[in-house]
């Protein structure tokens, strides 16, 4: 998968939500399509839905209108894809989860971290004598801002879930 930083010339960012058969290999069909045709992927998440025969995948990509049109057409062409929607075409909500482990070897650091967690409405989910692990959910920008806020605190580890999205209002992606 091609990882590029987004620039204006490369077009708009799109969040494509895909409902597909929960079959072995479904993920690799989508990932393979993106790499074979040289499309960009910023993140990709997938998990089964309330109907276990279906998976819901969220792909964040970017490109010109023509490229995005091709991406949705090519995805629709995959035999396992039941339905898809480009969430960015309408009002929608996007969320990502971050877990971050930071070194808190002094009281100063512990206080600093606790304050940041409060400001960003995160949660400390694990504590040791020398480290805190924090959970935070929000848009990608919010998570970026949170990570950047740790100026003095050494970051030991971060893990991000990738973006999940859903449309606002009663509109839904369902079969």
């Amino acid at each position: 998968m091609k990882q590029k930083t987004k620039t204006d010339e490369e077009g708009m960012r799109h969040i494509i939500s895909i409902l597909m058969e929960n079959e072995a290999g479904a993920l690799s069909r989508v990932a393979g399509l993106f790499s074979a045709r040289g499309y960009n992927i910023e993140s990709l998440t997938v998990a089964p839905t309330e109907d276990i025969t279906l998976s819901r995948m969220t792909v964040v990509t970017w490109g010109s209108d023509e490229i995005i049109e091709q991406i949705t057409k090519q995805l629709n062409k995959l035999v396992d894809v039941v339905k898809l929607v480009d969430l960015t075409e309408g009002p929608h909500i996007e969320r990502e989860m971050l877990m971050i482990k930071v070194r808190t070897s002094s009281n100063d650091l512990r206080e600093e971290v606790t304050r940041l967690v409060d400001i960003f409405r995160g949660r400390i989910i694990d504590v040791t004598a020398t480290s805190y692990t924090i959970e935070l959910t929000g848009t990608g920008d919010k998570l970026d801002a949170f990570i950047n806020a740790f100026e003095k605190t050494p970051i030991l580890e971060t893990v991000r879930s990738g973006i999940s999205g859903i449309s606002r209002g009663a509109k839904n992606l369902h079969i």
């Binding site: 290999g25 023509e66 894809v81 039941v82």
Partner: protein
Amino acid sequence: MKLTGADILTRFLADEGVEFLFGYPGGAVLHIYDAIDRQDRIKHILVRHEQAATHAADGYARSTGKPGVVLVTSGPGATNAVTGIATAYMDSIPMVVITGQVPTHLIGNDAFQEVDAVGITRPCVKHNFLVKSVKDLALILKKAFYVATTGRPGPVVVDIPKDVTADSVDYVYPKEITMRSYNPVVKGHTGQIKRAVKLMAAAKRPMLYTGGGVILDNAHKELAQLAKKLNAPVTNTSMGLGGFPASDKLFVGMLGMHGTYEANMAISNCDLMIAIGARFDDRVTGNIEKFAPHAKIIHVDIDPASISKNVKVDVPIVGSVSDVIKSLLKEIKASEFKPNKAAAKGWWQQIDEWRAVECLKYKTDGDKIKPQFALETLYNITKGDAYVTSDVGQHQMWAAQYYRFDKPRRWINSGGLGTMGFGLPAAMGVQLAFPKATVACVTGEGSIQMNIQELSSCMQHNLPIKIVCLNNGFLGMVRQWQEFFYDERYSHSYMDSLPDFVKLAEAYGHVGIQVTKPEDMEAAMKEAFKLKDRLVFLDILTDPEENVYPMVPAGAGLDEMILI
């Protein structure tokens, strides 16, 4: 009644109406071969290399419209089949390829002859399946045939582990299948049909550009009606040849890199292009910026992803080609459509001027056999009614230019992938489908050697194919590019140490004839085609320096052709 997976497979194929299974045995498919041995409803055609099995099934599919079916073993059996699968994929040919797999408990263990067939074939199939339980086998096979033959057709791989072929379950042939995730569109959008007809009515210089989709959807009759109604020139892609009769006065020949002057000029000057079942391939459009610069474009295709992929179109119509043309004809009738007669007169006058250039004329040279002459002779001797398969290179382009196809499914070539080695095995598939028909394989000394071993299969299955080998001692198309664009540095395009093809044919039990002089051509071909029940290898020594003209150089527009 309980049947083993192997018996379910053979039973299913017969129930599905499969006549031939092209294959090659091996460890993982031994249960299946045992099952083949105890039935007589499907006929197994043993090849000499798995690539040939896929090409033969492909040739069968292209000539009949029915899906080609292949059976190969795991590991190297599957990898050898990949080229043929990719060939079928690029040209949208319906095919079902059954690959054996190591037993389920060994999958992922790097077992003997194990390869991830589903993974390897994923980018070059329409879809593929791994059968994990014998309970799923019949339904998956049904899905495979359904997906392969509907919508935009294509190859489907079904990977079956050996233990699944040994396990037993009750078998019922699944007559119907629905898949919630797969519902190809058939009918064209009414609003778009209306918009298209409005453009047709306003056009002064309309042009039909049609491709393989017309052949795949058997829409040649509808296309002929539409062309007549519009009084518009028709050009075909290489894949589309035979979709419109080459002898019709509306036909202006093939377009593209080696298209005719009149076709490429008409494309460059038309004000309305009606693209049907064609996908604006780079070999067709030349420099995309300069392609059909004055034209509004209507694009009819079953695959939405083919529309506005390379060229932005004005009226996209997604649907089955034959269905959409029927709707267009209906709308034309309903809309009191009148073609602009005065404009048509001027347009045709212009086209006739381009025709007068006679771009396919070639210089003759007393001693040397011109390849174009060989193909003209082939056309005359077979009265233009043969099935012609071809390999890839100069001979392929000459065949496309000089064998004027009047009927669909007669021109069988690897258009998209450009697979050398396709011609002979594809001819096997055609000859099996039509045992009494004349089948010619137009090839070169380079291509034929890529699957020459199939001469043995042809003997075993009594396939009286006529191999027309244009032997110029060069990989001709490579040589041509090296002459034009690499200052005549003929790096590795010369074929040294060629076999004596006549003796080689004879060694396999066939007839070989060598032609060295133009004056012997007609007699040699007559003799070859008279031998109805024998394979004849015509080794025709042609002018090594002949080039394919016209030619649109890479990066140039279609109206910037090099003429002879």
